[in-house]
Symmetry: C2
Subunit: 159 residues, 2 copies
């Protein structure tokens, strides 16, 4: 509801597509979505928003710092709302589940490395890819598969 305030603070007009998209991303269960996911969610809500608009708005949100874009394995971008606290990601390539974590020690070491190189860091990303507990144990994940949370393993099938 106060989304419109967020938008204006970010220097963006509070238009309906923008409000809807931000609303979707802010749903707790929406953690990591592709542009396509957001588009489908809009269609499901009965909103007539073009895919081009979704991409445009997501990029604007990224520039404004409202969302964070991730380039997980598989090429397509996934977005999550920027809730302030930086965190890193663990992605299950079997079920697509995404876990988040924050490790101060890792952050500190990164800072140190950058400092040594005289490098000014704008952003950094740490992803771990593998198999989650649920998939290892039962071949299925206890958590539901959020569409687009990642791309289950499949790149070439072997050439």
């Amino acid at each position: 509801m106060s989304d419109s305030t967020d938008l204006k603070k970010a220097g963006l007009k509070a238009t309906l597509p923008r409000l809807k998209i931000l609303g979707i991303l802010e749903e707790p269960r929406a953690r990591h979505m592709t542009a396509e996911d957001v588009y489908k969610a809009l269609l499901d809500m009965g909103e007539e928003v073009g895919l081009a608009t979704v991409y445009r708005v997501l990029t604007q949100f990224e520039s404004a710092g409202l969302v964070i874009r991730h380039n997980f394995e598989g090429g397509r971008s996934v977005f999550e709302v920027n809730q302030g606290g930086h965190h890193d990601h663990v992605v299950c390539v079997e079920c697509g589940e995404v876990f988040e974590f924050y490790d101060p020690a890792i952050e500190e070491r990164q800072r140190r490395v950058a400092e040594t190189l005289g490098f000014h860091v704008d952003s950094h990303s740490l992803y771990m890819y593998g198999t989650c507990l649920g998939m290892k144990r039962e071949g299925k994940c206890s958590k539901r598969l959020i569409p687009g949370s990642g791309v289950p393993r499949e790149r070439d099938g072997r050439g």
Copy 2:
């Protein structure tokens, strides 16, 4: 020249395109190249190799563990020869330069995090994006810009 042995060890026939591509990637100055870069390098050498072949071969090399694929910001993949030692990357978004580092403490913490989650890690990647010393100081980088080493900043023209 013993590249053909490397290929056979990896279970791949020693064809001319594969030998050439591996050769290009093994040049010390070739550190991180996109498929397009490799293709252009082949053309420059006067080799008639199709772009599709480059992509196919790179994917095969990845499957065989000969090269590592990175998904830097910007969507497109970059490849580097797998020289055994894992390392992480620092990418200058101004000049495209890529620095490498290895920090045992970070690796250890990552292992710890995965363990805590009961997560089996297949691969992990850590990238830092920002501005290198050369670009900060002089607006230019002391190192030459390897084409495709990364994608100089440009996503929306707002930053």
